[in-house]
Amino acid sequence: MIRVSYRWLSVVLMALLAPLTYANVELSTSVQKVVPVLDDSGQVVRRLEAVESVVPEDVLHYTITFTNAGADTVDAGSIVITNPLPAETVYLDGSAFGSGTDITFSVDGGKTFAEPGALKVDREGQSVPAQATDYTTIRWVFKPALDPGQTGDVTFDVRLK
């Protein structure tokens, strides 16, 4: 009984200490499904729904939320969020978004990043401009400082292969 109590105590302590010691920025990821629907004027609009079911060709919308849960302000321009794309998905061109961020992409598994126009891939021995389907990783650099308690989020869409 005593041993069990200690174990639980240590878990609680770690949970309490964790944000105090270093986790000034907390990060969470959530996923929704993008469902195209026709609005009253006959236009196709995107609607985000909870993920009940996903099959190939469905479009997923990921939201990454970052929060300054610490007591100190995080330096301007220092928050860098990196998201490797799940292997079973392809990035949807133009879908990455993040208020106050610079967005770059990688086609080499996250070794190098550049803006879409500057990315090249090797195809049949020739270096050609990369396409959205070549992207492996997305990176957001958040330009403002993040004060304690402040939060922000970035998003992107992929299509399930």
């Binding site: 990060l27 990821t29 629907v37 079911s53 190939p56 990454i64 928050i79 292969k161």
Partner: protein, 349 residues
């Protein structure tokens, strides 16, 4: 309500596009995991990176099938025995393993006759085309749905026979459908004409591979087309087939050397293949200059005939000396009837 209906319409379009341009896709049951990492600095000091918990999504099984006719869009001609084999390919276009019930419908209401369905076979012996027998393809039995992995395809042969009383050039249609077991069980439908097929995107919890959800693909919705394919059976001919053989060669000395005076007995078998019948059939066989007709040698189906021919004799069988031609009026001959055998003897000049 209206919004919901429109949703389906759009999904329909998307599914149609995806089915046409993409393969089967990520396998049912796959876990799609997404994790982000953040690095940051406080007062110029880099802090340890923080990783998010993974957002995990499990891929459900989309139930889809594509049935195509392998007969190239051309009508199947019936063979001499009035039978024909229609071949189809059934492809599992979903992303999981699925059994498909084969449904043959010969009563396709588009005019024409209803072919008689004798038996369907699942190609299984590795030899293209239908083979029947011990080392042949597997006869399909009701309830014995072939199980196909994602993107796997199988060839199905359907053996058909012409019904009686079908005229030449008439056409009949046979349709093969492949109904996914999962959909058949969940919705109580077994035939594409059944009411009760769900809408595209409908979800059946737990019905997919290894307990994932099953999602109804476009092929298994009311009015869908890729669940079935049709083949047209056309009554061909009828065609007259002649085969001439030398039955006996007799050189008069117990041998078969072909020299002057050697007698050669020929048989011409006349039959009609295809379907229907040929009327007023007249057989003429000019005897070449190197041979001469042996008078009184003509017989039809073993019955001797005199040598007189039309118009001098009413039996329409004889030897026309003016044209050196054996002439036999066969008359009406239906397809599939026993061949009429005309025999006569010639002598080498």
């Amino acid at each position: 309500m209206r919004g919901k209906t429109l949703t389906w319409v759009v999904r329909f379009m998307l599914l149609a596009a995806s089915a046409a341009t993409h393969g089967v896709g990520t396998e049912a049951g796959t876990m799609i995991s997404n994790t982000a990492t953040v690095t940051f600095e406080i007062d110029g000091a880099p802090q340890p990176p923080v990783e998010s918990a993974a957002a995990v999504t499990r891929v459900d099984e989309r139930i889809d099938v594509a049935v195509v006719s392998l007969d190239g869009g051309l009508p199947l001609m019936s063979s001499a025995a009035g039978e024909a084999t229609a071949s189809f390919e059934v492809a599992n276009a979903g992303n999981g393993s699925e059994g498909f019930r084969l449904v043959v419908d010969a009563h396709v209401d588009e005019g024409g006759f209803d072919p008689l369905v004798l038996q369907s076979y699942v190609e299984s012996n590795g030899v293209p085309g239908l083979q029947v027998g011990a080392a042949g393809d597997t006869p399909y039995a009701q309830g014995d749905a072939p199980e196909l992995a994602a993107n796997e395809r199988v060839v199905v042969h359907v053996v058909l026979r012409l019904p009686d009383g079908v005229g030449s050039q008439a056409e009949g249609i046979v349709r093969l459908s492949a109904v996914a077991d999962t959909i058949a069980r969940a919705y109580g439908v077994d035939d594409p004409e059944d009411a009760g097929f769900p809408a595209a995107g409908a979800f059946v919890a737990g019905a997919g591979d290894a307990g994932v959800g099953a999602v109804v693909g476009l092929s298994h919705t009311a009015g869908a087309t890729t669940i079935s394919a049709e083949a047209t059976l056309r009554v061909d001919g009828p065609f007259v087939q002649l085969s001439k053989t030398a039955l006996a060669i007799d050189d008069g000395q117990g041998g078969a050397r072909v020299t002057s005076g050697t007698q050669i007995t020929y048989e011409i078998a006349v039959e009609v293949i295809g379907s229907g019948s040929v009327g007023d059939l007249l057989l003429t066989d000019p005897v070449p200059d190197s041979l001469e007709y042996v008078p009184g040698s003509l017989a039809v189906d073993g019955t001797p005939q005199d040598d007189d021919f039309l118009p001098r004799d009413a039996d329409f069988a004889g030897f026309n000396t003016a044209g050196d031609t054996v002439s036999v009026r066969i008359g009406d001959l239906p397809a599939g009837a026993a061949p009429r055998r005309v025999t006569f003897t010639t002598r080498v000049r």
